[in-house]
Symmetry: C2
Subunit: 366 residues, 2 copies
């Protein structure tokens, strides 16, 4: 298992990750505290998809004391958006709605340019535009959401980034991200650019504002070094809520743009969605006969996973689980169900993506 | 001898520096070419104060082909401005007037913040403001001069800086600037920020514009790495014209803000100027008797140096040289001459510095 912000390899042991990273598991007590303020406990919380945190309890303390926190998350625009990206954003919207808070959404075009030898700024800018449409299509509250694009808003980020950078040595960056002497100097500074939004509202409002970051756990190294220097700089440590990785439609690994046949993009045509899901790996047995005899493995099945996390309520999902286990549910039925629901979802998402084209200015930080 | 952009130590052997850095001496042929376009050959050129270059001949080729270059120089705002700073700026004005070209003047507030552990941004910003008054007081042409402050104009610099940064590894930076694992990540990126103005006009005008950098030779490492990557990025290599260091009023070393008694600041009061010059090291002998017997050493005398480079024409300076050598000129006479001229110069400079307060907006890049 190897988890960095740029790649996730091997079988993921989330318990081990929590121990190694030194984060905390989200326990029932914490879930109960969230539920107290929410209309409902989001399935992504209930089912442990968001499973780990740093200082989430402190964020709720602050909230209960009447101190409004804000949400900060981001996207590196190196390709199109797929369901694996969208899921944490849907959860972020839930947090925004539940706590009625502001959201800063950072688009790290600089990082993607610096990281990819084969990508020029024109290509990155194209994805920046396309990805912003997806972000807006999620339905974040217009008046409470600001999108930052690093190269566009660097004037706001850089003054804070150099405060941060002054406190971080190359040794720290090497140890945290596995950088070496061949790493380019833009990548070396970048962690300070990604950390800057953690302090941006505090800096500009001239008072301390707590920050909560919903993101997959592979981003944790950024917040670890940010937390290490926050107090020295006179800011709150940013709190986090960490998700697991979204599985791809292949046998292993997270949904990834680099293996497009395992990922459903928001721009995919109906035929492509049908093909990809039809060809998906499942938790089913090799033959119908074996399936009836042994039952399927829904825990291991991306088709079951997507139906459960994106499209079905607890009861329907539990029914499906039992039927699969018992061997009475052939894989094609689940695939058809996922195809139908995904096609409807993507069709609607595409419509909102189209509408987003007229909303960019309203969502962008001025 | 140790020369880096942050410190100059030991007895400077300029011939050795030219060999080590791989620059070219300015020869008589090149001086003749400059003179062809100038009304006069500036004393700082004639006397070899600006002594070394990279591609200055190419810049003149381009100029003669009708391609207008621009000048780029800079200032790190970590303290007040003294005569040692002003001298290359006066020369830069000469180049601007002679060739009728634009000037970009970069104020690297980010670097000074990142480099000095004990300085916060408030202090750096104070010096940024004060130093800008000095820059304007030099009398650069308003319509052909733009001042850039890194943290204010980072939106223009950063997109180019990341193009540059992508091509520079930590190895290169380590070897060029002597950085190590304890260097902060802001300093590590900074060479890309200082390199960015070399390409700024080309980027924004959408055509290649040659760039000539007048600066002391300790800044050369920045331009060496910039030149290495310029062609790969599709830009011209920046050309340079290098000066020697300005001597302090002490026995050795360049005029330096860190030894204020050896430096005359543009903000110094008359009494202070008088005291500092009166206490200056000179090339004179220990007693008047010895002076009359052996004669003085004007080559080694900062008082002679300042009179020659800042205040006297060739003939007066040569007279002074001969008289000093012959022993007929006591040091106090030279000191008085320098005190009188410096007081007049600083008085006038202060007046222009006051006027500069109303000109800042006109000089700043919008």
């Amino acid at each position: 298992m190897r988890v960095t912000p740029w790649s996730v390899e091997g079988e993921i042991d989330y318990n081990k990750l929590v121990r190694e990273f030194g984060t905390m598991m989200i326990n029932d007590e914490l879930l109960a505290r969230i539920k107290k303020h929410a209309r409902y406990l989001h399935p992504l919380l209930r089912t442990g998809y968001f499973f780990s945190h740093r200082d989430l309890d402190w964020i709720i303390d602050k909230y209960e004391e009447g101190e409004r926190f804000y949400l900060y998350t981001g996207r590196g625009p190196s390709g199109n958006i797929h369901l694996g990206h969208i899921l944490p954003w849907i959860f972020t919207k839930y947090l925004q709605d539940t706590f009625n808070v502001n959201l800063l959404f950072q688009v790290t075009d600089d990082e993607k340019f610096l990281y990819n030898d084969d990508k020029d700024m024109d290509e990155i800018s194209k994805y920046t535009y396309e990805n912003i449409l997806d972000i807006i299509a999620i339905g974040f509250r217009k008046e409470k959401t600001k999108i930052i694009v690093d190269t566009k808003h660097i004037d706001r980020l850089y003054p804070i980034a150099i405060e941060i950078a002054k406190r971080i040595t190359f040794s720290t960056i090497k140890a945290t991200f596995g950088f070496n002497n061949a790493t380019n100097i833009g990548m070396i500074l970048f962690p300070a650019i990604q950390a800057a939004p953690c302090f941006l509202p505090s800096k500009f409002e001239g008072r301390l504002v707590p920050c909560l970051i919903p993101a997959a756990i592979d981003q944790d190294p950024y917040w670890r070094i940010t937390r290490d220097i926050a107090t020295k700089l006179g800011y709150y440590k940013p709190a986090q809520i960490h998700s697991r990785f979204v599985p791809g439609l292949g046998m292993h690994g997270k949904m990834s743009s680099s293996i497009p046949e395992t990922a459903i993009f928001t721009t995919d045509e109906e035929d492509k969605i049908k093909d990809k899901i039809s060809n998906s790996f499942t938790g089913g047995q090799a033959t119908m006969k074996l399936q009836k005899m042994l039952g399927g493995n829904p825990e291991n099945c991306p088709v079951f996973w997507y139906l459960k996390y994106m499209f079905e309520d607890e009861k329907s999902s539990d029914d499906r689980y039992i039927k699969c286990r018992s061997g009475s549910l052939p894989c094609y039925e689940c695939k058809h169900a996922l195809i139908d629901k995904t096609i409807i979802f993507i069709k609607d998402f595409k419509r909102r993506r189209e509408e987003a084209k007229n909303l960019i200015d309203e969502y962008m930080l001025e």
